[in-house]
């Protein structure tokens, strides 16, 4: 392209003073919030230095993991994965209809509004809190953990699924409607084929994070490796605690890698 004749190209726009003022205000606000939260969060960075001796001893115990009871750890690690499997599968089954019923391009407001609030509640409460409740309801053990993960994950997946539904191309759905298909047909043939890869990806991702969550729900007695971990830790058996943590890290890493591969294949 040829350069335009001199004088016709406007100069680059200068940054307006108003814009600079906004930057200053934003920075001041961020610093203000951080200072305000310092007190409440009980920030004592110097303690890391003061108690370095204690921490070195503590760390020393961890450096010699004790794998003598590895069969128990493996067994309980498998239980944890099994909790994650059933918690995720039940959540997916329930999140499919609920996700569609949360999408504002599919159902009227008086349907999606209450269901969204219900899902918000399921999501707002952490798995561990649900686990505490279910341990009371169904007793100690993996079933309580499975239910906790199931309820929380349903809330998460219903939201993710409905966001995928809201982002679809509406034209194929209209194509189905124009042939004389009913609402169920529109969902099954028009919407689900479009969102399926994303749904599978979300479900696998939640499975990954549910394996991590399943170790945590064990801490409150809801079964699996977390329960063994907590018992070892409270018995000051740091060598065993260390071995259990290695089991968790290796398992979670392996499942993450496998699940990432799977997700890459579906998208």
């Amino acid at each position: 392209m040829e350069a335009a004749p001199a004088g016709t190209v406007p100069p680059p726009p200068s940054v307006a003073p108003r814009r600079r003022l906004i930057d200053v205000v934003v920075v001041a606000a961020v610093v203000g919030v951080l200072a305000w939260a310092w007190e409440g969060a009980d920030m004592r960075p110097m303690d890391l230095w003061t108690f370095r001796g204690n921490m070195a001893t503590f760390l020393g115990d961890f450096l010699e993991p004790d794998f003598r009871r590895w069969q128990l750890y493996l067994e309980q690690m498998i239980v944890t994965v099994q909790i994650a499997i059933w918690g995720t599968v039940l959540a997916v089954v329930l999140a499919i209809p609920l996700g569609v019923l949360c999408a504002e391009n599919v159902v009227p407001i008086w349907v999606y509004y209450p269901i969204r609030r219900l899902m918000d509640a399921a999501r707002a409460i952490n798995e561990v809190v649900f686990a505490v409740l279910f341990v009371v309801a169904v007793g100690l053990g993996p079933f309580a953990g499975t239910l906790a993960i199931f309820v929380h994950t349903t809330g998460v997946l219903a939201k993710l699924f409905s966001e995928a539904v809201e982002a679809i191309d509406p034209r194929p759905v209209e194509g189905i409607r124009a042939t004389g298909g009913n609402h169920i047909h529109e969902v099954i043939f028009g919407i689900i084929p479009q969102v399926l890869p994303l749904w599978i990806s979300y479900a696998l991702y939640r499975f990954e994070s549910n394996v991590r969550s399943a170790t945590v729900v064990g801490l409150v007695g809801a079964g699996g490796i977390g329960q063994i971990f907590f018992e070892a830790f409270r018995g000051f058996d740091y060598a065993a605690t260390s071995a259990i943590m290695i089991f968790i890290i290796v398992t979670v890493t392996m499942l993450d890698v496998a699940s990432q591969q799977l997700r890459r294949m579906v998208i």
Binding site: P172, T179, G180
Partner: protein, 280 residues
């Protein structure tokens, strides 16, 4: 079946306003089409062609304060902005072909065509994705008719634009629609694919006696394939008559400077199927 005086499509006083206080997208549109007619609908972009077709397809309803009415095969599809009781069954009688084809890209071409039976097959069965052998055979016949039988197993998204449009026509064929509405079916296609699609529509009109209403923004195609043309300008029906009357002078009269848009792009060099074919 249909009485001599039955109109395939009958529209009376249809007005549609999208935003209160703005110019209506459709302004008191009235016309009717006899069974087996092939009618072109022309107009510049924004003149209301798509809006009109969406109303005829039962995908939109007109203003509630007007007394507009759409009747399909002498049954009410919508009246005074409210859906008629028979809307669901009437949608099955009306096939729609869209500018962007509106196929489900991740489903196979065959499954997309099978969507044509949804209006008449038992809903519980089709909802489970089950189609009978006969339905599959019929769908293959429809695909064969548009020259795509060898593509049945492919995903719809792997087809070219012209092929997708032909698959969409196969879907309308399986639907056994008595009326076929085509909303800018060739606007996204190259000239060769466009001609092929127009020829298939013309063939369906002549061989099956299906009433075809096709919106176009190239007048040359209207003149080549349709005896009758309706012209919309800013939501108003400004012309309803033989396509042969649509001379450049006439169009200049109707549309002023906008008429240029209706001529571009030109028809391909090889002259398309002439009127003689359509009449034959």
């Amino acid at each position: 079946m249909l009485g001599a005086n039955t109109m395939a499509v009958s529209v009376r006083g249809l007005t549609k306003t999208f935003r209160q206080g703005h110019r209506p997208a459709l302004d008191n549109v009235t016309f009717s089409a006899r069974p087996s007619e092939m009618v072109a609908l022309i107009g510049a972009s924004g003149s209301g062609k798509s809006t009109l077709i969406r109303h005829l397809a039962g995908l939109a309803t007109a203003d509630r304060d007007g007394d507009g009415e759409v009747r399909i095969l002498d049954r009410t599809m919508q009246s005074r902005g409210r859906r008629g009781r028979e809307l669901a069954t009437l949608r099955t009688d009306v096939g729609v072909v869209f500018q962007q084809f509106n196929l489900v890209g991740r489903l196979s071409v065959l499954t997309n065509v099978l969507m044509g039976v949804l209006g008449r097959a038992p809903a519980w069965r089709t909802s489970l994705g089950q189609f009978t052998r006969q339905e599959r055979v019929d769908a293959m016949a429809c695909l064969d008719r548009v020259g795509l039988a060898d593509r049945a197993a492919q995903r719809a998204s792997t087809l070219s634009g012209g092929q997708q449009q032909r698959a969409a026509i196969a879907r309308a064929l399986l639907q056994r629609a008595r009326i076929l509405l085509a909303d800018e079916p060739i606007a996204s296609l190259d000239p060769q694919a466009a001609r092929r699609v127009m020829e298939i529509l013309s063939d369906i009109n002549r061989s099956d006696g299906v009433t075809v209403l096709v919106s176009l923004h190239q007048v040359a195609y209207a003149a080549a394939y349709c005896h009758r043309t309706l012209a919309l300008r800013e939501g108003e029906l400004v012309f309803d008559g033989p396509s042969t009357e649509l001379t450049p002078a006439m169009l200049g009269n109707l549309y002023g400077a906008e008429s240029e848009e209706l001529f571009l792009p030109e028809l391909p060099a090889q002259s398309p199927t002439p009127m003689a074919l359509a009449a034959g």
